[in-house]
Symmetry: C2
Subunit: 207 residues, 2 copies
DNA sequence: ACATCTAGTGAACAACTGTACACATTGAAA
DNA sequence: TTTCAATGTGTACAGTTGTTCACTAGATGT
């Protein structure tokens, strides 16, 4: 009974990536996941793995690429829904929290990868964050906000904002997704963090 | 030739913990380290492990306790050297960076543990950070800084400061310890982050 | 129609893993 | 001095791991 029946192209590849994310979502750390474990979770024979990835690290790298897409979707939604400047922070944080809950496994992978084992994955996630920060700087310029800041100071501010939000990720992911109260607490606190930062940016270099 | 010659009590225990940290320092992620690997690195037979720890997670928990000591040492040094308020941020960040470099492996373990596999280790590190933040709040009160802030707002600010510094950790640890230039860059950027935050705190609720 | 390529299968293997057990040595308590 | 708990060692074993190999069903290009 050997031999594979052809399905949709790339189907197994997707199954393997989803399987890895599922394991991460179950609490496993990506660095401790092995090939056999992923294929078992995906319902595929171990050998199949090598048809799509050279190693688990390779799979991780491709997950980072998909993570980039998730982040871009989130960014787009934020831009569509946050038109005027007031309530900007609250709405953005809300969208972020919603996406973090909806793509829990992806964001868990991201949080793990920041201090992960694979240097390449680490750098990939870092790079996504830099991109995110620079897009944020563009948006603020477009909205005519913080106009008194130099480019470099604006970049610094956006970097800090992104880091703060990323750290909140670990808060969100460490609590049960059904615990609405605690989620709400994190949402409020993150909002206050960002407000504090933007107030600081508003007075930066002007005193 | 079986049988153990008694050495200093707790010597093997220390050797095992140091071995785990060494592996982490070499780039391995704590979640992917096994018992045999630790004992091999420590130059000890695998069975010895069980004399001191129930599992690798257990070892992790005890590492968190030691991490607490490292953090307290750092805090004490900061309090001794930072007497007056001006230059407070720069000196504190300097001390932090120095300690991060001197105890690289410990801080790597910390950065990993924040999004690690063991819930207990995660919570332990989080708890250390909370403690650190509350001590920082005490110090600021003692120095008569940010006196216009309510207790809860001061806590929030200190939380944000600690998070920001913790995130800088991943920056420091991702660059080679000999790359003085890049270390200096991180030091400067972290300082600016904290200055921005404290400016924000200074104007919080007052406009 | 035919050859080729892609993506699947199962069996095999050596290396490594966690853990259990019986035993040895020692410092301190009795 | 005898006893004993603590801490070390060596051997053993069953289960898991990553990876190679030979094989095949179906899609694709000519």
């Amino acid at each position: 009974m050997a031999g594979g029946q052809r399905r949709r192209p790339g189907e197994t590849r997707e199954k393997l990536m989803t399987a890895a994310l599922t394991l991460v979502g179950k609490g496993r750390h990506f660095a401790s996941i092995g090939i056999r474990e992923v294929t078992r979770q995906a319902g595929v024979v171990p050998t199949s793995f090598y048809r799509h990835f050279r190693s688990v690290d390779d799979l991780g790298l491709q997950l980072v690429d998909e993570l980039g897409l998730v982040l871009r979707r989130m960014m787009r939604e934020a831009r569509e829904n946050v038109l005027q400047a007031d309530k900007l922070i609250e709405e953005s944080v809300g969208i972020f929290v919603a996406h973090a809950l909806a793509n829990r496994n992806f964001f868990m992978f991201m949080a793990q990868g920041l201090a992960g084992e694979s240097r390449a994955v680490q750098e990939g996630i870092r790079s996504e964050m830099r991109f995110f920060a620079s897009e944020l700087a563009n948006d603020l310029r477009r909205l005519k906000l913080l106009e008194h800041l130099s480019d470099s100071d604006l970049d610094m501010t956006c970097d800090l904002v992104v880091r703060t939000v990323a750290f909140s990720l670990t808060d969100i992911l460490s609590i049960s997704p059904e615990d609405d109260y605690q989620i709400e607490q994190v949402r409020k606190r993150t909002t206050r963090f960002l407000q504090l930062i933007l107030i600081g940016a508003g007075h930066w270099q002007s005193d």
